[in-house]
């Protein structure tokens, strides 16, 4: 097990080194969004056609096929803009390569990044045209978009990036196991207490072989459950009103969340699996072979689950999908996924071309095809009326649960999710905190307090590095 740890260490070192390097090549303190940014839409009309632009994305093979298909449609539907796709493999690698590109000059005209982890850093590079500037210049209207998806991409009230691919966590369970334990298979538990009661029931009736609940030691557990409870993760309205300077999760709610996880594991009602590497599917396979009966996972896995179940290897499983449960139930999950950033290092014509392509990816028809091909949530209300999405929801009803979670739920800074410069660094801290609690024997309160201290250090270091 030496290699992965080394490479993670390596990745951290690279991230730090690149940040240091990026600081040298031009990241400084001034909040980019605050500057009056221009979006040179008129440049496209005067430019020699076609204007060729490069789009960096991070989609794995199956989703890449869908992306290629819609991009081909775009390229052949008009002659002003020609898009070339370059796969930069993962969100993390794309961000690394983008930051390196600030020094070498090799940058894309449009780039897809993870919204949660990249939003603040992309602003800090001062290398992007806020989508709000283009929307304003183009009189573009977001009324058909899901409001929370759009608000998720705003910093200080300014829309930074164009929305594109959205997913969020859902509760997955085996209806047959629920029925066998005498639980109502059509009523998934909605609160911590209900999940624990269901778990106890599943264990007492010996329906599961190992443990009722499969938990990932994922940093996002705390982020999501705080959001569901209307609580912030970092200060300054989750870093959206102003740059975040410290975490604010070391509270009664935070401790309840950590205690619930620890309690579930210590009373053998839950087992923990890593959220990285090959073990990300362990909880799902655990449900498949009867070791487990419930778990939380991203809605993006529903396609794979449906395919595997359709092969008929798991006659004892009937998939149930429920909204993500939480401390008190209700509330909304933070929106996850990726968004499109336009580079201001490109020529005006290319910036305008990138905007046009980003708009195309937001068209209801494109979104419907994209959702059907990938399992991401359609981000346009009108897209859900189209046959592609209707078919998808009929085939895999779980997708609608994920969509409803984004449409419903309160729209607050808490549900918009946190914005942090070194999000990867903070997540590493949270991962370690959970592990110290699950395997190191640390008390939930201590693990949480240590995590808060460490996370504050990571945030302060980043802010200091960029001079904020």
């Amino acid at each position: 097990m030496n290699a992965p740890r080394r490479s993670r260490f390596g990745a951290t070192v690279v991230a730090v080194a690149l940040l240091a390097g990026a600081a040298l090549v031009g990241i400084d303190a001034a909040p980019a969004a605050a500057k009056v940014a221009k979006c040179p839409l008129g440049a496209l009309a005067q430019a020699k056609k076609p204007v060729e632009i490069t789009f960096w994305h991070s989609m794995p093979a199956a989703n890449e096929e869908t992306l290629k298909r819609v991009t081909d449609q775009f390229n052949s539907s008009q002659s002003a803009v020609k898009v070339t796709l370059v796969n930069q493999i993962t969100y993390e690698d794309t961000l690394t390569k983008y930051r390196a590109g600030l020094g070498t000059g090799d940058l894309p005209d449009l780039v897809q990044m993870a919204t949660t982890t990249a939003l603040q850093q992309m602003v800090d590079t001062q290398s992007i045209v806020p989508a709000a500037a283009c929307a304003k210049a183009d009189n573009y209207n977001f009324s058909d978009h899901l409001t929370r998806v759009v608000d998720n991409l705003k910093l200080g009230g300014t829309l930074i990036a164009m929305p594109f691919n959205v997913s969020n966590p859902v509760f997955l369970y085996n209806k047959k196991a629920f029925a066998a334990a005498g639980l109502d298979p059509d009523k998934p538990p909605a609160t911590f207490a209900e999940v624990k009661a269901a778990a106890q029931r599943l264990r007492d009736t010996h329906v599961v072989a190992k443990a009722p609940f499969g938990l990932k030691s994922a940093p996002s557990n705390l982020e999501q459950w705080l959001a569901k409870d209307g609580q912030l993760f970092v200060n300054n309205s989750n870093g959206r009103a102003k740059r975040a300077t410290k975490v604010v999760f070391d509270t009664a709610t935070g401790r309840k969340i950590f205690s619930w996880m620890a309690d579930m594991v210590r009373s053998n009602l839950a087992i923990v699996n890593s959220d990285q590497g090959a073990s990300v599917y362990d909880n799902l396979f655990g449900i498949g072979n009867g070791n487990l009966a419930m778990t939380l996972d991203t809605s993006a896995t529903l396609g794979t689950i449906t395919q595997v179940l359709a092969s008929g290897q798991y006659p004892n499983v009937e998939l149930g999908v429920g909204p993500m449960f939480s401390l008190r139930g209700g509330g909304g999950t933070a929106v996850g996924g990726g968004a499109l950033f336009i580079s201001n290092k490109s020529s005006p014509a290319k910036q305008a071309a990138a905007w046009r392509y980003a708009k195309f990816l937001n068209e209801p028809e494109t979104q419907a095809e994209w959702a059907a091909g990938t399992g991401y949530i359609p981000i346009r209300k009108s897209a859900t009326k189209l046959p592609a999405v209707q078919d998808l929801w009929a085939r895999v009803p779980g997708y609608k649960v994920a969509y409803d979670q984004v449409v419903g739920g309160p729209n607050t800074p808490a549900t918009a999710g946190a914005v942090i410069g070194d999000y990867f660094g903070v997540r590493e801290v949270m991962r370690n905190a959970e592990q110290s609690m699950f395997t190191g024997g640390a008390s939930p309160a201590k693990a949480l307090a240590t995590a808060a201290k460490e996370a504050n250090r990571v945030i302060a270091e980043y802010n200091k590095r960029i001079g904020a």
Binding site: V13, G103, T104
Partner: protein, 275 residues
């Protein structure tokens, strides 16, 4: 042969066979999974023999992962890095073992100190240098930062120190210059170390991921590890293609190990027995 010895020999072979099976099993599973229809990979109990081998997975991996281009690039870059590391390590190791020059010890410590600096630390500096030299998105940019290693110089110095001093003196008396002594006497005697260094530099160059990803512009010059990661898939019915890609990317490694097997084993057991 006594009965006692036969029993002991049988036991020894049994243990070795068992250990070999344990080592080979993951490789076997990788090959089997590459031939299973995607959905069968998740079957319980796991299928350990492909009843309906899906050979097309290899063709898919080849085209989806751009493995034709990427393997070619990897072979070129790896060959350059390997040749460079061997050349510079042998020359530097020779100097430290046989020559006298000012600050020899200090310089050697400086060489060793580079072992403490992980590649990641020099990443940005290397990238800036390579870009400034106009080598961004070229084979040279992919290979040049890795042509010399402190580890190689250290390994070769240690190997050359094993060469008896008398041989050096005798060769000098016979009129051998440094280069001739190096190529005719020192390197042949240090063959196990050279073989080990060759395999080691191949492995590290072949498995590079982040540097080739960052220093290249697009698919044209990317190397095989990037292709492998490109093959990762969300659709379970295509997972066998990912496995097939892994098998293809590992083949050159197997070939290399077969070529250098003798040297490696000798390198490992060198010094274990007096001979």
């Amino acid at each position: 042969m006594s009965a006692d010895r036969a029993v002991r020999l049988t036991l020894r072979y049994l243990v070795l066979t068992l250990l070999a099976l344990i080592v080979l099993f993951p490789i076997y599973v990788t090959v089997v999974n590459s031939l299973l229809p995607g959905a069968d990979i998740t079957a319980r109990p796991p299928k350990l023999f492909p009843s309906n081998p899906q050979w097309h997975a290899y063709a898919d991996a080849w085209s989806d992962g751009h493995l034709g281009t990427y393997l070619k690039n990897s072979v070129i870059v790896t060959a350059f890095i390997m040749a460079g590391q061997l050349l510079f390590s042998i020359l530097a190791g020779y100097a430290f073992a046989f020559l006298e020059f000012p600050f020899k010890r200090t310089l050697f410590v400086v060489f060793l100190a580079t072992l403490m600096v992980p590649l990641e630390v020099t990443f940005v500096a290397n990238l800036t240098t390579v870009t400034d030299l106009g080598l961004y998105d070229t084979y040279a940019g992919l290979a040049i930062p890795f042509l010399a290693t402190g580890f190689g110089a250290f390994l070769m110095r240690q190997a050359f120190l094993q060469v008896p001093r008398d041989l050096h003196d005798a060769a000098r008396l016979d009129g051998y210059g440094h280069l001739r002594f190096l190529s005719r006497v020192a390197v042949p005697l240090a063959r196990p170390a050279v073989g080990a260094l060759a395999v080691f530099s191949f492995l590290s160059a072949w498995s590079q991921y982040l540097w080739p990803l960052v220093v290249t512009k697009d698919d044209r010059l990317r190397t095989v590890q990037i292709g492998l990661k490109q093959l990762r898939n969300t659709n379970i019915d295509h997972v066998n293609v990912t496995f097939a890609g892994v098998v293809i990317a590992a083949l050159p490694l197997v070939v290399l190990l077969l070529i250098f097997q003798k040297q490696l084993v000798r390198g490992l057991s060198a010094g274990a027995v007096k001979g």
